[in-house]
Structure formats: structure tokens, C-alpha cells
Symmetry: C2
Amino acid sequence: MGSKERIQRLKDENRTNILDAALQIVKEEGWQALSMRKIADIIEYTAPMIYEYFANKDAILNELANQGYLLLAKKVRQAKSTQTDLEKQLEAMWLSYWDFAFEERELYQLMFGVGTACCGFEKTYKCAESHGKLISDVIREIMKDKNPPEDLICRKYFTYWSIIHGLISINLVNQGNGENTNQEVLKDAIYGITRSLTD
Amino acid sequence: MGSKERIQRLKDENRTNILDAALQIVKEEGWQALSMRKIADIIEYTAPMIYEYFANKDAILNELANQGYLLLAKKVRQAKSTQTDLEKQLEAMWLSYWDFAFEERELYQLMFGVGTACCGFEKTYKCAESHGKLISDVIREIMKDKNPPEDLICRKYFTYWSIIHGLISINLVNQGNGENTNQEVLKDAIYGITRSLTD
DNA sequence: CAATTTTGCTTAACACTGTTAAATCATTTA
DNA sequence: TAAATGATTTAACAGTGTTAAGCAAAATTG
């Protein structure tokens, strides 16, 4: 009765086919376009069949996210192994993290809940009275002794924004991750970048 | 024929009622739960009526986001006005930005496309071989001369993560915002934080 | 081998979603 | 009062996730 194993192997295959199909759809059409029926089309079954393998749609997303975590950890580990100096290791690891986010764009979105909502935020950033302009103005003022080019100001603004927005994002997704730690990271970061403006 | 104006006033009122209802639903049940029919229920009309005021659901989201931008800019401006010293202004502005994100959680999510996807990422962060652990290990190693407490390492890790994740988020939402600028901000940031580990 | 149970899979259906076209009702205009 | 315009609703379409019922083939049992 070795057919038990053959059947199990077929089942496993179906399972991975479902995950592969889901990822394929998302890569081609985005998360918004992912539906059970489309997955079913690709694996050449009907939609209810998927529920034999996954409790619901969220379970599929969860499993994909977990695959993402494994892949990310693997890449980070590989990056570390390319360097011996500790600080270079750290840099390589973060750069591989960065690369992962864009190579596996869709997985990263899923894993860290980002970039799924609507847009229309580019325009407003350029709006005359936007927070971006207001803050950039102060940065320019602080740095005025050095006659900074406009793109340096933009870079500094982005540095601030990134760390604050990043910290917010992490907190919004992973709600409540130690209020105290946050405040300290936040102030540390603001202070650190501000110091770099005048150094 | 002053009724023209009265009718216009009623129309305006309906428009804002729609936006208010949408925000109310989102605050109570989250973005996922927002539907045209639920909005209609609240404003005591039927769903198709909404299309007299907004082209589609996205148009509603867009308008809400724009309200958010205005509110954020206002708060940042107010924060600035509380300080005279430039660096303190900057700090106050970023702190008000921070506060806005949590006071107006839902708007922030909409404006910057964050925290809408699924979760399950807390567990994996704690997983033994996760990227988080791998990176934290290197941070600990770099700082080992100072016998750092575990929560300081965690804070440093979060600082790194925030700025990199923030930069990624901004790029994933606002796709392609000058590749060169990104790389410079990224390396600047990594270097800056790394320096703070050994200082 | 025949009868029965189990398994794999599909069809049909439910309650939703955004959105559009047609029908209805109220109000203003001629 | 009759016609026309505007406001509002009902009905419908195509799509969503999900569940229950049905069916046919395979496996198990007598």
C-alpha cells in the first residue's frame, strides 16, 4: 500500500501549487486581484477544493508570509557569511534586507503590511503648505550656514521621515511594542539626525 | 429663488456626511469593513445615491486622505509655532507628526498605505533563526565591550529597522523616488547608527 | 464478485462587495 | 393642470469568500 504515500505526495504538491498560484497572481496583478477562484483556475480545480488545503484565504496569506520570513532570514544569513568584519557584516545584512524588499516586493508587502492602500500622496507632498514643505524649511534654515544644495535637504528630510514613518509603521502593524522603547528610539533618532545637520 | 442655495447647502451637507460616515465606520470596524452600503445606511440613503457625490469608492478614500494631509500640515504648523529655537521646532514638528499617526491612526494608514495587510509577523520575529535575531546578534557582538543590556540592543535594532523599513515603505508606496537618493539615505543611515553603537 | 462506505471533486447556493441602468416618486416649470 | 426636470430607489450584474449538498469514482468490506 505505497499508494498512501503517493497520494500524500499529490496532496503536498497541490498545496504548494496553491501557494505558487497565489503568488503568481499577486506578482502579475497585485494583492487586490487575488481571489480564490483565480487560484482555482490556475491549479485546475474549483474554488471549494482549496478549502481542503487551507482553512480560508487568510491562511494562504499567512503561509506565504511565513515563506517570506524564511527566505528573508536565509538571505540575511548568506549576506553575513560574505563578510568577516562585524560592521561590514551588519551593513551587508541590512543591504540584503533592503534588496529582499524589492526583489520580493509582494512578499514584503504582505509580511510587513505596507503599500496596500490607495495612493494620491505624492501630489500632496509637493503641496505648498504640506508638512513635508514645512519641515524641509526648518531643515534648510538650520543648515543655512553651509549653503546646502536642495537635494541634500531633501535627503535629510527623507532620513528623518524614514525613521519616524518606519517606527510608526512597525507600531501600527505590530500594535503596541513597548511604549517606552518607542519614545526612546524616536528621540534618539531625531537627535541623531539633527546632530548630523550641523556637524 | 434662494432655494438654489438651500439645496446646494443640503448637497454639501450630504457630501460631508458621506465622508464622516466613512471615517466613522473605519474607526469602529477598520478599513476592511468599509462598504458603500454601510455608508448609505448611516446617511440614511441607498448606496447608489453616493455616486451622485463621488465617482467611486476610491474617490471617497482620496478625499479622506486629503483631509488627512490638511490636518497633518495644520498640526505640524502649530507644533512649530510653540518653539523659537530651530532645532526644538524640528523636534516638536516630528513629535506632532508622530502623535498625528496615532491620534488619527486610520487616516495615517490611508495616507501612507500602512498596516492594512495581514499580521502574523510578531511570532516570526521571535523565531530563533529570524532575520531579527541574526542582526541583533551582530549588534550585540559589536557592542560587547560595553556590556549592553538586552533592551539597548533591541532599541538599536529597532532604530536600524525603522529607518530601513521606513525608507522601503515610502518607496513601495510612492514607487521610484529617485534611486540615487535612496541609496545615499540608506548608507548614511546605516553608517550613522553603526557609529552610535561604538561611540 | 457485489454491496457499501469513503474519498475527491463539482455544482449550487448564501451573503456579501462595487457599480450601473431602469423605474419611480417628488418637485419645479410652462 | 400637464410636462419636464430632478432626486431617490429598486433591480440587476459581475464579482468576492465561504459553506452545504450532490455526485461519481475509488477503496473497503462482506
